[in-house]
């Protein structure tokens, strides 16, 4: 078991104990929500896990790094940023997927761009955002977020 797993579990345990000493009923309700959500997100998690197995096992690593690896340069980053903006994958599932891409030869920039556009730019939810916030804010937010994602990705590629 790696230290990160231990840290995450200790952190959760600490929060749980702290909450329990403050308000027992609320904590019990929180655990109920946690169990319910766990089973709710289980099927998409399993789908992503199967997908990762196929991606790492069947697709040759050379192919992945050709499209989004170091040598693909800026066009690779742009390509995966667009993919992240269009796809609608919950964030919980995007991190293992991103990690597996990194393992199979994707560049740091590409992976950072993918995660950032995936979470910040929502093409699928854009109509709803326009309805609630108006065209101006929604379009500006998504457009600038896309540019920011690429800038963050390039900086991360340079410093890591």
């Amino acid at each position: 078991m790696n230290p990160t797993i231990i840290f995450i579990n200790l952190f959760a345990l600490g929060c749980l104990i702290l909450a329990f000493t403050k308000d027992r009923a609320k904590t019990e309700q929180s655990v109920k929500v946690a169990v319910k959500t766990f089973f709710y997100i289980l099927p998409p998690v399993l789908i992503i896990i199967i997908f990762i197995g196929l991606l790492l096992g069947v697709v040759p690593p050379g192919e992945i790094s050709k499209v989004i690896g170091e040598q693909s340069g800026f066009s690779g980053v742009l390509f995966i940023a667009l993919l992240g903006a269009i796809l609608h994958i919950p964030a919980f599932m995007s991190f293992p997927l991103a990690g597996s891409l990194l393992k199979s030869g994707a560049s740091i920039s590409a992976v950072a761009a993918f995660i950032t556009t995936l979470t910040m730019v929502g093409t699928a939810t854009l109509p709803l955002e326009i309805k609630e916030l108006g065209k101006k804010i929604a379009l500006l937010r998504n457009g600038i977020s896309f540019i920011i994602a690429i800038v963050i990705a390039l900086i991360m590629g340079a410093i890591l």
Partner: protein
């Protein structure tokens, strides 16, 4: 209210059934691919199994933290506090409020909309939405596990910096175009709120 809740429950169940159907379809597709490449069965199953174990070791903890936030930090609290704060204080509080609640981004749009109606600053709303989208604490726990501390921390810091700049920038643009539109009718009201 009750009817609305029941309706939501019904939709959640429907979405869950869809997810299981999708999972079944994925299994069939995976099995077909493995039949075509029988020499890859071992590597695919060991890879998937390793990721499955990793997920199962952190997901319960992540869900517990998320559950605590869901119950303790209600939407009403966030709207109440964020609607009142302004200026520099708001810029620091907005990302903080965005990190606390849980749920997909589309849940945040109605909240942001009611914040606008309450007169909250555009910059705070944009920062709040962006924080909601990408710097949730339970979410960061998963990023920490699968991409490592260096990656997680640098992306987090960069995101906070750029999102704040974006918030202020969008507020300027909107304030500027509103002023241009309203200068004829109201004599150019200054201030960034709608």
């Amino acid at each position: 209210m009750k009817i609305e809740e029941r309706e939501r429950e019904k939709q959640t169940n429907k979405a869950m059934i869809m997810d299981y159907i999708l999972l079944g379809a994925t299994l069939i597709v995976a099995a077909t691919i493995l039949l075509i490449f029988p020499d890859r069965v071992d590597i695919v199953t060991t890879t998937s199994w390793a990721y499955f174990l990793e997920m199962m070791l952190i997901l319960p903890a992540v869900m517990v933290v998320m559950g605590l936030f869901t119950v303790w930090v209600s939407k009403e609290t966030v709207v109440k506090y964020l609607g009142k704060t302004s200026g520099i204080k708001g810029i620091f509080l907005a990302p903080l409020f965005g990190t606390l609640p849980t749920g997909p981004l589309y849940l945040a749009f109605p909240m942001a909309s009611s914040l606008i109606k309450k007169g909250a600053r555009i910059s705070n709303i944009v920062i709040f939405l962006s924080a909601w989208a990408c710097i949730k604490i339970p979410q960061e726990m998963v990023e920490l596990q699968f991409l490592g501390p260096k990656f997680m921390v640098s992306r987090l810091v960069l995101t906070i910096i750029f999102v704040t700049i974006m918030g202020v920038f969008i507020e300027r643009i909107i304030g500027w175009s509103d002023k241009k539109n309203s200068s004829r009718s109201t004599g150019g009201e200054t201030g960034a709120s709608i």
